[in-house]
Amino acid sequence: MTHSSNNTAIDDSDRRSPDYPLPDWRQYLRFSQDHKVIGVQYMVTTFLFFLIGGLLAMLIRGELITPELNLVDRPLYNALFTLHGTVMIFLWIIPFNAGLANYLVPLMLGAKDMAFPLLNAIAFWIIPPAGILLMSSFFLPNGPAQTGWWSYPPISLQFPAGQPINGQLFWIVSLILLGISSIMGAVNFLTTIVWFRAPGMTFFRMPILVWSVLSAQLLQLINLPSLTGALILLMFDLSFGTNIFKPREGGDPILYQHLFWFYSHPAVYIMALPAFGIFAEVLPAFARNPLFGYRSLAIASLGIALVSIFVWAHHMFASATPDWMRIMFVVTSMLVAVPTGVKAFGWTATIWRGKLHLDTPMLFAMGGAAMFLFGGITGVMLASNSFDLHVNNTYFVVGHFHYIVFNTITMAIFAAIYFWFPKITGRMYTEGWGKLHFWLTFVGANLTFFPMHPLGLQGMVRRVASYPPEYQDWNVIASLGGFLLGVSILPFIANMIGSVLDGPRATNNPWEATGLEWTTTSPPPRENFAEIPQVIFPPYNYGNPRAYGEEPLTQTGEEVSNDENDE
């Protein structure tokens, strides 16, 4: 076997990208079928929604800085938290993860593109109209939906009283559209992962991020249709006068809760699993250790997905659920802690005795992993129904899930953005600004979300616009932390825009990381690889410098030792 000279990844002299012209920015505004363009479209669009959702959160924290009402009136407050939750879940984390996976999965598998490029493009282009539809409900006469992102009936059926075109209907239609987009994406991911792996890329050579995407997308396919069903029924109750969820007419509102949480609890794992995958990519690269317990982490991803299908009723401990159901769901919910624990132990062991490089992606990944431990432990507390009955629907729950969705998942997303920024743009970001961004975010996030735990223990209920004065102290801290979080995003935006326009050129593999995506150019060409790669290494092969292009292969290409049997 000889190496042809046009391979850019062989010797050090041309490991730097050739002077690739940066991709034409106009292609990102077009209906492109390139998974990399679609991935960037997803990520940029959802980041804009993240800013909108963050703005709504600032307003909420602004109102809560004092016990009385003085910034927004009650209907506006209710609309703010409803849309904040909806935007952050359905227009930020879930589609951002889809975008990141869109960019990375084909590259990591050694494929030219996703399995169904046209479907991929359609799935993306559903998102902007659905998001705009949702936000446009601010201009309706009765305002947007005001009943929380759960929209439990009968309250969600009561509010638009008499208005056929109302915010609740817009909310339902928008969510159904986003659901269709997610299902299209899920079908595409599953097919890509099963069919489009390069020769030699067996299942147990896939990076953990691919495993997590696989698990998360399986959950989308199994659980999301239940939400779609619930929303269709809710729409009929709302707009066509049926009575399925109307208790006064024989319907059953608790049924909606079952259908809703059957999706919306696994939705947390749909959001979190890719974050776990990001940790599993970033931590080994910056600790220079192989991922510890690769196989158990891969199986744990599927395990989390499997168990999380059967935990939904732990959101309903205080609803009128029977005893046996409560006990059963206590046990299943606790069980989720086992595969999750396996992951956390694996990360810690990966860092242990490593050679740590504390670059920005590593800071975000370690910060996110540490705060995930906190959120996970409060999660186990909440799974204990006796304790849950005290804090159910209080700020303790709000604090818990923000430790997951912000302090873990959004931190992981930032880690991913910094980590793959050189690959996506072909440029390096500015390290100092990245570190500033990390420290502002880390401090701000803890200041904002930690005070919610004592507030909840003391009994402050969520979704209140005004509250008894004894809760004010912690609320002031949380609000100031929230504003700090708002500020923390500015260095990030500046860094991203500045670096895309004028950053130094990135090499193909600036982090010396393993993984197929680092073997191609930065940014990768249209079909990703000059040739379909043959995979001969196990994943995270940091013991073998050739796995990340440190030394060229021997003349014959013979493998001396590829560390497959090191365990």
Partner: protein
């Protein structure tokens, strides 16, 4: 050659050798099983895999409706409001059902004809399927207009019309797909890359029929 190429055979790190197990299955089934990688070019295979996954997911919307229906019905002592008989399996409905179910056989025969390159036979059977589907839709319309309850007649009305309506939408989609496939069959180069569209429509049609069997049992026979 890329860096990742090697003469040494690649080993699967999985505890079981999936690839060897996979090859023990018949060809048509292999396409649903995970491979050891390198199967990019099988357009029909990946298409059918994706479409099957989609249908399995879609069936969960129906199951959420079925479960809602069952839960409501089990917990409501007087399911039928006074003076309302509810949906009944009349001869008319039975004929409708038989037509829809037997169209599944017809469409399967059509697909087989196409695989054997009997194009005119395929077109004939295919057209027959869509006519049977259309008959079913018209029959459903007549059934709807003859019932003595409406969408707002208690839970029985709401669930009946939502469930049959959602199924009916799928039948409409199936008939539209059939018409498109029929028109495309006149294109000379249509089957150069296999007949994924025809296979997918066939699968979809079976799906619609299976859902109808469950729906019919729940709504008419319970």
């Amino acid at each position: 050659m890329t860096r990742f190429q090697s003469t040494s055979p690649h080993r699967d790190e999985s505890p079981i050798d999936l690839e060897r197990i996979r090859q023990k299955f018949p060809n048509w089934f292999q396409r649903f099983l995970p491979s050891g990688g390198g199967s990019h070019e099988d357009h029909h295979g990946k298409g059918m895999f994706g479409f099957t996954v989609f249908l399995l997911s879609e069936s969960i919307v129906f199951f959420s409706f079925f479960l809602t229906y069952a839960a409501l019905r089990l917990n409501t002592p007087d399911w039928l409001p006074p003076g309302i008989s509810g949906p009944e399996p009349t001869t008319f409905v039975m004929i409708n059902t038989v037509i829809l179910l037997s169209s599944s056989v017809v469409i399967q025969l059509a697909e087989r004809a196409l695989s054997r390159h009997h194009h005119s036979r395929f077109r004939g059977l295919w057209l027959l399927t869509s006519l049977m589907g259309t008959y079913f839709l018209i029959g459903q319309g007549i059934e709807w207009s003859n019932l003595n309850f409406g969408l707002r007649t208690g839970l029985v009305g709401a669930t009946f019309y939502i469930l049959t309506g959602f199924h009916g939408l799928h039948v409409v989609a199936g008939v539209i797909l059939q018409v498109i496939m029929l028109l495309r069959s006149f294109d000379r180069n249509n089957y150069n890359h296999g007949h994924f569209g025809v296979s997918a429509t066939t699968l979809f049609w079976h799906f619609v029929d299976i859902i109808w069997v469950i729906l019919f049992s729940l709504l008419y026979l319970w």
